[in-house]
Amino acid sequence: MPEGLATTHEAASHNALQHHFENMEQQREAATLGMWVFLVTEIMFFGGLFLAYTLYRYQYPAAFATASNHLDIRLGAINTVVLIFSSFTMAMAVYSTQVGNRRNSIICLLLTIVLGLTFLGIKAVEYHDKYTDNLIPGQLIPGHPFHPEVAAPGDTDEHKLHLVPGATVRNVELFYWIYFAMTGMHALHMIIGVGLLLVLTIMAWRGRFSPEYHAPVEITGLYWHFVDIVWIFLFPLLYLLGRHLEGHMG
């Protein structure tokens, strides 16, 4: 290119600036906008699952309370704390990148990955507990159908189902379909999120980000916080509603 053509655009350009954008500011705004449009589709997707939950809970409140009470509230609460903390470290990773602190942004990204994996590990323990209690719905695992033991009145065995009056085992199974669909989709999003964070960590390690260019960290942060928000709703809906009925059980 002849030297005379080096315009102001050229002078202000950053090597990460794509040719169809005026400047880094506009490029970053466009990336954020695009991510939000994607998150809208995600809101509608999870919205459908939440709607299914709402309808069946409305129809079979006793079965849903029974099944909710069988979930491990301790592990659920710990996972909520882990995920909220990971959202915080993610926000700090964005901040560190914005101010150009490469070391801190790598540390925060790694912490977020570790917390995300902790969440998935705890979720795996919970899934395994449901497996040993024969609560995997339908024939999801061939040869291991849904057949929980129902506790007799007075029996306090935690591994058995303690039916709230009016609940049937069939409708408890319905809850577990919804439970595995919702937490499973959520966990899949977490796995994808951890993958994205690994890529970001490598990019940060190679010094690809700067106060001018950090849109990838920013929009992955939006995604991660969205997944956190889904869990903020899943935790009370799946684990907590129905707890107050525990004292009323036979």
């Binding site: 500011e25 970053r28 705004e29 954020t32 906008l33 939000w36 449009v37 998150l39 809208v40 809101i43 509608m44 919205g47 459908g48 709607l51 709402t54 309808l55 409305y58 129809q59 509230i73 609460a77 909520t80 704390v81 909220i84 903390f85 959202s87 915080f88 993610m90 926000a91 700090m92 901040y95 914005q98 101010v99 920013e218 942060g221 939006l222 916080h225 969205f226 956190d228 928000i229 903020i232 709703f233 935790f235 009370p236 809906l237 907590l240 509603l241 707890r243 107050h244 009925l245 525990e246 004292g247």
Partner: protein, 98 residues
Amino acid sequence: MSEHIVSPRVYVSILLLLMVGTGLTVFAAFYDFPGPLNAVVALTIAVVKATFVILYFMHVRYSSRLIWLIISAALFWLAIMFALTVSDYWTRAWLPAM
């Protein structure tokens, strides 16, 4: 519009708020409120927590009007989906048995 950098102090406050909210919702779950109030209390706390995450962690408080518009549109369509479907299921029992 130049980028607004949210300070770590704000992030720490939001973190503490979310932790308090989590504790509160677990605590409230064991209390037997009258009628459907347990669900109302749990959902209110969840909505408050989500709002703080959206406004501060996701920087929406400092984002352009266009972002606000997109989020409002999403919530509006979500509300349509819920309102129409729930009104159907809710009113089915009103019909005399056929």
